[in-house]
């Protein structure tokens, strides 16, 4: 069933880190998902528009450069305004400037409306397994 599900993938803000984006796209496709990859330098509007156009099940936001805190604010509200009230939103990467206590960072991003928040160095497989679970597709991976 996963081939029915689309994930919008992108690197938010003024961030140009392209490598992880390419690997995530590959890993999601290998796991059977459709990937709407909007690439680097993606605006919040591009995430929402891509999700609307592809009827996506999830939005995956990457941020590697430290401005994630400034860039991600408002994404959940904008999604709701666009009629995407229930869309899953994950975020991961080097989300803030400096080495900060992870629990605090995770809470800040959960408060912004993200369903899952991943620390630096998370492997794609972990987030894909979470996505399977959140979408009720777990049995199909086993």
């Amino acid at each position: 069933m996963t081939e029915e599900k689309t994930v919008v993938l992108g690197v938010i803000g003024a961030d140009v880190h392209a490598v992880g984006n390419r690997i995530l796209a590959y890993a999601l496709a290998q796991a059977g998902f459709k990937v709407a990859n909007i690439g680097v330098l993606a605006t919040r509007e591009e995430f929402i528009n891509a999700a609307l156009e592809t009827d996506a099940a999830a939005i995956w936001v990457s941020s590697l450069y430290g401005h994630g805190e400034l860039d991600c604010r408002g994404l959940r509200d904008q999604a709701a305004e666009a009629g995407l009230e229930r869309i899953l939103m994950y975020v991961g990467g080097n989300l803030v400037v400096g080495k900060q206590d992870w629990a605090g960072v995770e809470k800040r991003f959960k408060d912004m409306g993200f369903d899952r928040v991943y620390p630096p160095g998370t492997m794609p497989g972990r987030a894909i397994a979470d996505l399977m679970r959140d979408l009720g597709l777990v049995n199909e991976v086993d």
Partner: protein, 483 residues
Amino acid sequence: MELKNQKWPADEFFSRRREVLAAWPTGREVDLDEAVAYHRRAGAGRSMAALLDQARTSGRTLAQPRAGVALLLDQIELLRYLAAEGEADCLPATIDSYTRQNRYAEAQAGIEESRAAGRSMLNGFPAVNYGVAACRRVVEAVDVPVQVRHGTPDARLLAEITLAGGFTSFEGGGISYNIPYAKDVPLEKSIADWQYVDRLAGWYLEHGVTINREFFGPLTGTLVPPGISHAVGVIEALLAAEQGVKNVTLGYGQCGNLIQDVAAMLTLPRLAEDYLERCGYRGVTVTTVLHQWMGGFPADESKAFGVIAWGAATAALAGADKVIVKTPHEAVGVPGKEANAAGIKATKQVLNMLRDQFMPPTPELTEEIAVIRAETTAIVDKTLDLGDGDVALGTVRAFKAGVIDVPFAPSRFNAGRLLPARDNRGAVRLLEPANLPFDRALLDFHRERLAERGRVENREPGFQMVIDDIYAIGKGMLVGRPR
């Protein structure tokens, strides 16, 4: 104006300048004659060119960190700390990512939010927003030369403000600050915008102030084979020299195999000098910089120090004039000042210990040197051919044809068909050479080296091998072996 590799006439440059300086209010602060007078008063102690010259003559390797924060006083404090506690030989202002995309209003918001939060919310120093006088406070805060480091496809205003602000070295180029740093900027535009920056540096030189121009060697920092980054560096040196630049530093990102890295650093200045000479540019001083490993780092700080020390050893043994230092916090992003100083100190310990040692010539080193020379020459010569001798035009056509192809670059003006992977000894080779203009012997060399690894690992070389290699150093290895 049509793109050509030709020195900009003064009227063209000065008419373009008016538009550039009008893009943000601080542009009004730039007065070139006053800036020249300021640089002359500041003297050689602030000159990056003079420091590099000294390093080259005495055979030592300078250690330089990356460092940039949102607030002016914090930037000053950071540089002072890295000079005093970190013993940095030269310093940077690393520019934040909004400024790199010319988004000065967002940078301004980042400054305000950082003030309110009491911590830097930006990943660098927004020099354009602060303007000329504030830049001078930054460079005057320390006794060593300070460079502008960034990743800006259109850096014209940034260059105007920071050079007038007393910085004596400016990183970047029309290829190396576009292809890895943008997705939609045509090369015709970025090359022209960097001709402007080079012409500005040339103007300073003509008025007695040497600005060092450094090109960003690591590109995407992800398994870039030396032949490709060398070709880009040589081309950017030629483009800068045409605009009157006489002091250039070519860069290379450490790949991790010592023999390949030493060969890369030994060939880099020779190739640049050969091409500059061949294209008729005289009196250009060429120095080199090695970037410690630019890919993914281990999160464990002791392991990260291992990676840093290996980069320092490589820089010393390869005779790099300068090394750009990583920090033990690399895996989690922008470091604090203590972690930054720790990286410099670890590096300097190794540089000092290896100062009088060098790599002896061995058959392996000789072979690697020959391979890198052949690869770079093949790409640069084909690029010149494609431009009918004009390196600017040739570069645009070379990217279109995939004659230059940077792995994992975000730009849509890069073919993106090439795939690199490590061989069995960790040297970076070509798994998919795509359209690189290599002869049969070079292609066979790459294929055989990867086939050898495939036999050892009992798998066909493929994309999974590339992914394994990208994560390998972060997981404590060089070669991404199958689990």
